[in-house]
């Protein structure tokens, strides 16, 4: 392989040992090089996954805590004071703590769980295995990518323990709350740590993204043309492109924010009077500028979260329907269209900022255009399932659940994309319901689907199916029970981000509904504990995988040994002769990509 030869010349990391064809036993690996500072993409993927899971538990727990406040606003829980101390005096979460919890929940779930935990895990794990490469283009940068993420995590975690609390101005970190130390308790040290953590996170994403792009474009095995790539890889490719092009813009927004916070500049600040401090000298800034820079990342970020889930779902649906994916090129084309449109719709988050209505109408048009590729994808998923020989594995269940959630959440996107409707719906619970279903829960479902499907490849063992089905049904039913009622609340005008609706005649009648939502949220959170038990128990005690290709899948990762070493394939990297979706062709159940095209085969 020419790439290996090239890399071999001076890195010697990924491919210093492919000449003789014995991969399992070469350079000596210590605990540190194997499990901690590993340069093996599979180990890095697991590091991303487990760190992401830790954050998912923390972030999920935060949502349970603030749902407690929303569901039971007049009750006190003495145990809250035991765990949160002064942040829950008398057993009731303080307003400051409430905002800190909401902010951290958002930041953590969007960036640490659904960006690093999702695309970090599966891009690392699947790209080299599915394109047929020994490792990433630069295993060293890949390792750095994880450790930057880890440092970001440590800094973010430490911000929870500072005296003035973590940042509490919302995950979007709009100035002036984020730019002025005196704006709120969380705007002091908490915000400093938040921005350091996010800067580290951006670096991590960029290093990872660079590697993913280059590996996909440059390191494919012989015969693996772009149009033979599994859709997972296409989705991860567009995800990485989105990240590499949009995170730097966020970083530039952060740089200006840092200067406003610490060096007295006025990029975002103008004519501000802070209670207890007085009038500020800053003049000439524009807070809206930050919103532009933020949402130029923020909107592509939504697709950074969603596209990997879409890719994995496409793959899992096809494998478990025992049918080729319907409309492969349409799937690639729609991913491409989504990636382009992702950059052209950011101002739909800003309809009510005083945006020029004419400009707004252009953004409405571009936003609604996203419905076209989204509908193509949904159509193709459904037609892939149609008359398939469906195997309801846990991975498949979550994949189908993803499609359901994507439809439900996507439809409300059409409402919100209208600037006229948005005037009413903006900053209501309707928005919360929309983005949690379409981006949050749907992507979590994609992640679960991916974990259940590739777990045998990751750990060489199976997860327990019974627990998996219980996990699925509680999560699926819970997702709808939590977020469906929020649509009604939002349509009635109930604003989001409020600490309590008790004093408000018009929303008092939602008290019972809020209690219902909070109760379901706790049950769903408990079901995730079930998943964690299953996950960690099965790593060591799960049923062993004895079949190299347990799902009867066509893609390359299943041609590697059950527990592949660093370098993935002993001996030569397999050559690819066909696309990844020859299921049920010419009377054969499946034909792996490595099988040469026979003379008697019908057209492919």
């Amino acid at each position: 392989m020419s790439n290996e030869a090239v890399l071999h010349a001076h890195s010697g990391v990924a491919s210093s040992h492919d000449a003789g064809g014995h991969h399992e036993h070469h350079h000596h690996e210590t605990f540190i090089t194997k499990y901690v500072f590993s340069q093996d993409h599979k180990m890095i993927a697991k590091q991303f996954l487990i760190t992401g899971m830790v954050w998912a538990v923390l972030g999920g727990l935060m949502s349970v805590l603030f749902r407690l406040q929303l569901g039971y606003p007049d009750s006190t829980f003495p145990w809250l004071e035991d765990i949160l101390g002064k942040w829950a005096k008398g057993g009731r979460i303080t307003p400051e703590a409430y905002y800190a919890l909401v902010t951290t929940h958002g930041t953590v779930l969007v960036f640490f769980v659904l960006t690093a935990g999702l695309s970090g895990t599966f891009a690392n794990f699947l790209i080299p295995l599915q394109v047929g490469a020994r490792d990433m283009a630069s295993p060293f940068l890949n390792m750095l990518s994880y450790w930057f993420f880890f440092s970001a995590s440590v800094v973010m975690l430490s911000s929870l323990f500072v005296e003035t609390g973590p940042f509490s101005g919302g995950w979007t970190a709009y100035p002036p709350l984020s730019a002025l130390h005196d704006a709120s308790p969380g705007s002091k040290t908490g915000m400093d740590l938040w921005i350091i953590s996010m800067a580290l996170f951006v670096v991590s994403s960029l290093l990872g993204g660079l590697n993913y792009i280059v590996t996909i474009l440059n390191m494919r095995t012989k015969g693996m043309s772009m149009t033979r790539l599994p859709l997972t890889i296409w989705a991860l490719f567009f995800t990485a492109v989105l990240g590499v092009l949009s995170f730097p813009v966020l970083l530039s927004g952060f740089i200006l924010l840092i200067f406003d916070r610490n060096f007295g500049t006025s990029f975002y600040l103008s004519d501000i009077f802070v209670n207890g401090v007085g009038a500020l000298p800053n003049e000439g800034g524009s807070a809206i500028l930050f919103q532009h820079l933020f949402w130029f990342l923020g909107h592509p970020e939504v697709y950074i979260i969603l596209l990997p889930a879409m890719g994995m779902v496409s793959e899992i649906l096809s494998v478990n329907s025992r049918k080729p994916i319907f409309g492969y090129m349409a799937m690639v084309g729609s991913l491409f269209a989504i990636a382009i449109l992702a950059f052209l719709v950011w101002a739909h988050h800003m309809f009510v900022t005083g945006l020029n209505p004419f400009l707004g109408s252009i953004f409405v048009l571009l936003t609604l255009l996203i419905a076209v590729p989204s509908a193509i994808k949904v159509f193709n998923w459904l037609t892939t399932l149609w008359r398939g020989n469906v195997r309801f594995t846990p991975g498949m269940m979550f994949a189908i659940g993803f499609v359901s959630l994507f439809i439900s959440g996507g439809l409300t996107g059409i409402w919100l994309g209208n600037s006229a409707l948005d005037v009413h719906l903006h900053d209501t619970m309707f928005v919360v319901a929309h983005f949690h279903i379409v981006m949050g829960v749907a992507s979590m479902f994609g992640m679960f689907a991916g974990i259940y499907h590739w777990y045998p490849k990751m750990f060489g063992r199976y997860l327990n199916n019974t627990l998996a089905y219980i996990h699925f049904w509680i999560t699926m039913a819970g997702a709808y029970l939590i977020f469906w009622p929020m649509h009604y609340e939002g349509l009635a005008g109930m604003p989001r981000r409020y600490y309590s609706y008790e004093q408000w005649e018009s929303f008092k009648n939602f008290g019972d509904l809020n209690r219902f939502i909070s109760t379901v949220a706790m049950i769903v959170f408990a079901a995730q504990i079930l998943f964690l038990l299953n996950f960690f128990y099965s790593i060591w005690k799960g049923r062993k995988v004895t079949n190299q290709n347990p799902w009867g899948s066509n893609t390359l990762e299943w041609t590697a040994p059950i527990r592949p070493g660093h370098g993935n394939w002993p001996g030569e990297i397999p050559e690819v002769h066909r696309w990844a979706y020859d299921y049920g062709k010419d009377g054969k159940e499946f034909i792996p990509q490595t099988t040469p095209v026979g003379a008697d085969e019908s057209h492919h």
């Binding site: 283009a137 474009l217 949009s246 730097p248 740089i255 007295g264 990029f267 000439g284």
Partner: protein, 191 residues
């Protein structure tokens, strides 16, 4: 079906490709910063001031350094090692000189009464400081990269014949050069 993965003796080196993607990413950051500049400039309370002459000198210096690093790559490929070593040394020194000249430029601005930071600062000057400052950090990153290949060039233990690391540094160096020329034109005529 034609396979792009086949018959590829002339595929780009993966590290070089990585660098190109990274440069695209850096471009996006500066695109973000300069478009923020344009958006902000069209609003009220924007201080107009002339760019100090010293930025012309720094532009000249960085263009010169691009020439020297180009020659050093040629020297490396011709295995003219003493010439290569002195050329990359000159390049690194020119990079440091560039950074020093930029700093002098800010000083001149402040002397003229145009504040870039703290009280009385106008976003127009702060923007110049931040954008050019982020650029200087990228130049200094290039200087560090040169130091790495510099140490390699002087270490007697390893003989390195691959020109890839040197080419990587050179590509990056030309990139920060072109980036500065863009910023210079932007601040002088467009901004």
């Amino acid at each position: 079906m034609t396979a792009t993965g086949m018959n590829e003796p002339k595929r780009m080196h993966p590290h070089k490709f990585t660098l190109w993607v990274a440069m695209g990413s850096i471009c996006m950051m500066f695109a973000g910063l300069t478009s923020a500049y344009v958006v902000r400039r069209n609003q009220a309370n924007w201080l107009e001031f002339a760019l100090p002459k010293i930025f012309w000198y720094s532009t000249f210096v960085i263009i010169l350094s691009s020439i020297t690093i180009h020659l050093s790559v040629k020297a490396f490929k011709a295995r003219l090692m003493p010439r290569y070593r002195s050329l990359i040394t000159i390049t690194a020194c020119l990079g440091l000189l560039f950074a020093a000249l930029q700093a002098l430029g800010y000083k001149e601005l402040v002397d003229q009464g145009v504040h870039v930071l703290w009280q009385g600062s106008n976003p127009s000057a702060s923007f110049l400081f931040v954008i050019a400052g982020v650029h200087v950090l990228h130049v200094l990153g290039g200087v560090i990269a040169i130091l790495v290949i510099f140490i390699r060039a002087y270490s007697s233990k390893t003989k390195n014949y691959s020109s890839v690391p040197v080419e990587l540094v050179a590509i990056y160096w030309h990139f920060v050069d072109i980036l500065w020329i863009y910023l210079f034109i932007f601040f002088t005529w467009i901004g």
